[in-house]
């Protein structure tokens, strides 16, 4: 006979305020198998846990039910308590009478019987709980970091410094990402490249880091501790081992196309390195624009390359690497501001976006840091910065706030006032949001010390008049329509998830939200983990954020990876699928349904009526299975079960619930 102990938690007044715990205790005492019932003000407290241990020993309990909060909060706590008293931790069962009952009801009369229902269901399941043991897997002590912007570089360096190997993957020709495009960083006005390039060089030189640029993620297989990743190394057109990075090929190449790195504000060649401090300092060949690939003639770069490093016949290659953990740091795209037809981007050359302004104001940019109008290359005497272009606009853009635009636009206004002493800078805003260390002070400095003019109003239209740009808006502080004439307009675009974010997420079996941002496992308590064990997030791929937050998150993700890689083995939860080979008919309906490719066919031989026969059955790879339970639903034979959540256990709960209501039905 099983001996069940039931521990009812008050959680102060959180539960006891809405549930008559004494009454539930009284009823629970009469449940079959229950030999001990106890109330506690806080079961999770030290005395609360001690009471459980004491009862297990004194009452010789072999099953424990705690009715308290969500298992997400304290299941692990109570399992440890039960284990410390010498019981198998999976003999423990939890009834959630707080989130599922007291917090969502106000009426004690109805909440109390519901709480009891939850308790007796848990007791019914506990009576069928089995002893389970955790497994263990060997950990591949190497990490993959996808994306080598500041988030990826930071995570890679932290992991590498802790002594683990890192593979740093970047699809562009160089590492550095968005931060390499920026001029100064707020609120300290540090030169972005000056603080970034040393990290880029560190990453390239670090003995523990292997850098793959101009390379893309092709496939991810496996599971935490044991991922197998396929990487596509795109044909660079250059033998990286021979190339000296002298740059002659770029200077001789006759083709000029708008530079992606300069956001179209400058030109690059068809064989190019995006910027002088690029890492690695090896050019790539842009085949779409290369004259040789278009016409079959040219090869000027090859003629001038002294190192004989040019390779027109190079092809993509696939490599496979084994890693134990993955950090996803894939960054973001910018909202296409041309979606605001009324702002005239694309129509008026002097209406640009903020990243283009970064290139204009950047000392190593196409204008050597001189802020010049694209239309006539004159220095503008007035510039308007328009915030929230695509952000906080459900009509045309996204609902969310992009978080960095207020601060970088204020920075832009300061930089403009600094460079053009007699210039006027206007910032059109809805709200100025400056939550961050020294941010509000930066905003104040812009207004007070730099005389930046802040206008609360979202422009309704931008048009040209006598060669100048006119912004029409309502100044909502004055409550009056206004027109402001300027020589240049800078639109601050929303930060968007990468347009292929969904594909990246699907490749790795991690989830993403409606905007395409990759989902963290918990918004507060597991901010850098994903729901797929072993895969972590850093930077804007998870949601808009600025550089300080990105770096902090990258280091957090790195610390999670370091923690994981510091073990030789790791324990695995036993709640995974298992097949009853006796029941399995080998239909394998479970196989295509499994999102983790954890089910394979297996041939078994058995004796049937004296004869040896072979047949196929399903087999679960315990390393891959995440215990989602999809296969158990698909299984027609009832052969598939999740340990700890077997069909038998779950049906016992349902039977318990319906069994009590049966007399009432019969009375009708």
């Amino acid at each position: 006979m099983k001996r069940v102990g039931v521990f009812l938690c008050w959680c102060g007044s959180n539960i006891a305020g809405t549930v008559d715990v004494g009454k539930v205790a009284e009823q629970a005492r009469r449940l079959p198998g229950v030999v001990h019932v106890e109330e506690n003000k806080y079961t999770c407290s030290e005395p609360g846990q001690a009471a459980i241990v004491k009862a297990i020993k004194d009452q010789r309990l072999d099953r424990v039910v705690v009715a308290s909060c969500s298992p997400r909060l304290h299941e692990a706590t109570f399992r440890r308590t039960v284990e410390s008293a010498g019981l198998n931790p999976y003999f423990f069962e939890m009834a959630n009478v707080r989130e599922h009952c007291s917090w969502i009801h106000t009426d004690k009369e109805t909440a109390t019987p519901k709480a009891f229902d939850l308790v007796r269901m848990a007791v019914a399941k506990a009576l069928r709980n089995e002893a389970l043991t955790r497994g263990s897997i060997t950990i591949e002590k190497r990490a993959l970091v996808i994306g080598a912007g500041i988030a990826g570089i930071q995570a890679a360096l932290d992991i590498a410094d802790a002594g683990h190997e890192v593979i740093l993957l970047e699809r562009e020709p160089t590492i550095g990402g968005r931060m390499a495009q920026l001029d100064k960083t707020f609120p300290t006005l540090d030169c972005s490249q000056c603080i970034l390039t040393p990290k880029m060089v560190d990453a390239a030189k670090h003995p523990n880091i292997t850098l793959y640029t101009w390379s893309e993620l092709e496939k991810v297989a496996g599971y935490i501790g044991n991922f197998t990743v396929t990487i596509r190394r795109k044909a660079r057109g250059v033998d990286e081992t021979l190339c000296t990075g002298c740059g002659v090929c770029q200077s001789k190449c006759p083709v000029k196309v708008p530079s992606e790195f300069d956001e179209g504000m400058g030109m690059r060649k068809a064989i190019y390195s995006p910027f002088p401090q690029a890492v690695p300092n090896r050019p790539v060949m842009d085949r779409a624009n290369c004259t040789f690939f278009k016409t079959g003639k040219c090869k000027i770069c090859e003629r001038f390359c002294e190192a004989k490093a040019i390779r027109f016949d190079q092809e993509d290659s696939l490599i496979e690497v084994k890693v134990g953990a993955i950090v996803t740091a894939t960054g973001f795209d910018l909202f296409k501001v041309e979606k605001y037809g009324e702002y005239g981007y694309g129509l008026y050359p002097d209406v640009i976006n903020s990243l283009q302004f970064e290139r204009l104001v950047n000392a190593s940019g196409p204008t050597d840091g001189k802020i010049k109008k694209p239309s006539d290359h004159e220095i503008p005497k007035s510039v308007a910065f328009v915030l929230c272009v695509g952000s906080r606009d459900e009509q045309k853009g996204t609902t969310y706030c992009s978080r960095a635009c207020c601060m970088y636009s204020i920075k832009h206004a300061i930089q403009f006032r600094d460079k053009v002493k007699d210039g006027r800078a206007y910032v059109f805003y809805m709200d100025i949001r400056t939550p961050g260390k020294s941010y509000e002070e930066f905003y104040k400095r812009a207004a007070v010390d730099y005389g930046v003019e802040f206008i609360r109003g979202r422009p309704s239209k931008i048009f040209s008049r006598n060669g100048k740009m006119v912004l029409k808006a309502e100044d909502t502080l004055l409550g009056r329509p206004i027109e402001v004439e300027v020589e240049m307009v800078v639109l601050a675009p929303a930060m968007l998830a990468r347009n292929d974010a969904a594909k990246i997420a699907q490749t790795m079996s991690i989830s993403y939200d409606g905007y395409g941002f990759l989902n963290e496992a918990h918004p507060k308590l597991r901010p850098v983990e994903t729901n797929t064990a072993g895969i972590f997030l850093a930077g804007v791929c998870q949601g808009p954020k600025d550089i300080p937050d990105t770096v902090a998150q990258a280091s957090a993700a790195a610390s999670k990876v370091i923690g994981l890689l510091s073990h030789e083995q790791m324990a695995t939860e036993p709640m995974i699928a298992r097949v009853s080979e006796a029941l399995c008919s080998g239909c394998l309906w479970c196989k295509p349904i499994c999102p983790y490719q954890a089910i394979e066919a297996k041939t078994i031989t058995e004796k049937v009526q004296g004869k040896i026969v072979s047949r196929e059955v399903a087999a679960v790879n315990s390393g891959l299975c995440q215990g989602c339970g999809a296969c158990t639903v698909a299984c027609r034979d009832g052969a598939m079960n999740i340990s700890g959540f077997t069909n038998d256990q779950l049906l016992a709960e349902v039977d318990e619930l319906l069994g009590a209501s049966r007399p009432a039905c019969a009375a009708e």
Binding site: G341, L347, R465
Partner: protein, 294 residues
């Protein structure tokens, strides 16, 4: 629809029978020249315009809904040249999907079932219909060469974009293309989609003078010699108030305000005398004579 012979149900609305009679004349002239038959919706009523939707949401739906019901029998697409009529019909069509309560009340009141609404076209969409556009292109007799015209869409024709689903609400180009197709030079100007003041022309003349004046001024400064419109109220305001506005701004405008159909009809060889251009307040003939188009 395009498989059938070129016939359209025609909903002129109150304006085209009164203050904007010349618009009616030019729409019919273009239709005739393009070989399109216009079948006037039998026993049509007012669309409700601003008055209905400013006072009674049900009436605002019921009036245009009845027009749609009247047009249903013909089975034809509806041409509604007035921008306000077009807006009201499109809104009713959209509301019929969204508001079963309004539909039920309407059907009870009128004793008939409201069927699925046909396509509703404004005059720009009509002129861009493949068959119509082809006939216009083939039938050009007097291309409007050298005539610089600012296409003015106003606010209603392209908005609300969720209802009209027509052109880019902020940077429309459909009229620009039509003007170019008849040989004129479309002049892009910032006032394209600004409001002319609309029915405030009766109660707040000062505002309409300011709003319409600014539109005419922007067109003039952009180098336009005339403005093309596709709405009776826009025409009235830009045409009738530009004199007062010019005096206020200390400038001279004298920009003729043509209906787009008038310009197309002229290009198709319709005699200016047949189009009622004399009804416009700002001299509309002098420019045409100067350009040897009349």
């Amino acid at each position: 629809m395009s498989g059938q012979s070129a016939r359209y149900a025609y909903y002129p609305g109150c304006s085209l029978h009164s203050t904007a009679r010349e618009y009616n004349v030019s729409v019919r002239a273009v239709a005739q020249a393009a070989g399109v038959e216009l079948v006037e919706v039998p026993d049509w009523n007012c669309c409700g315009a601003t008055s209905a939707h400013a006072t009674d949401p049900f009436l605002a739906f019921a009036l245009p809904a009845r027009v749609l019901l009247q047009a249903e029998e013909s089975g034809l697409d509806i041409l509604a040249p007035c921008a306000a009529c077009y807006g009201r019909l499109m809104t009713a069509k959209e509301e019929a999907h969204r508001r079963p309560d309004l539909v039920a009340r309407f059907e009870k009141a009128i004793g008939r079932k409201l069927g699925p609404a046909p396509r509703i076209l404004n005059v720009l969409e009509f002129l861009a219909e493949p068959k119509v556009a082809e006939t216009i292109a083939a039938g050009l007799k007097r291309p409007l060469t050298d005539l610089k015209v600012a296409p003015y869409y106003g606010c209603l024709l392209v908005r609300p974009s969720k209802v009209t689903r027509f052109d880019d609400a902020e940077r429309p180009t459909s009229m620009d293309k039509i003007l170019a197709s008849v040989g004129a030079t479309p002049v892009d100007f910032p006032g394209k989609t600004e409001c002319c003041g609309a029915s405030l022309g009766i109660s707040r003349v000062d505002l309409v003078v300011e709003l319409s004046g600014r539109i005419v001024q922007q067109a003039k400064h952009a180098g336009a010699e005339a403005i093309a419109v596709a709405c009776p109220l826009c025409q009235t305001n830009l045409d009738g108030r530009q004199g007062t506005a010019a005096a206020k701004l200390g400038e001279a405008f004298g920009l003729p305000i043509y209906y787009i159909t008038e310009l197309v009809a002229l290009a198709l060889g319709v005699a200016p005398g047949r189009l009622g251009l004399g009804k416009h307040l700002t001299n509309s003939l002098a420019l045409l004579r100067q350009k040897k188009l009349a």
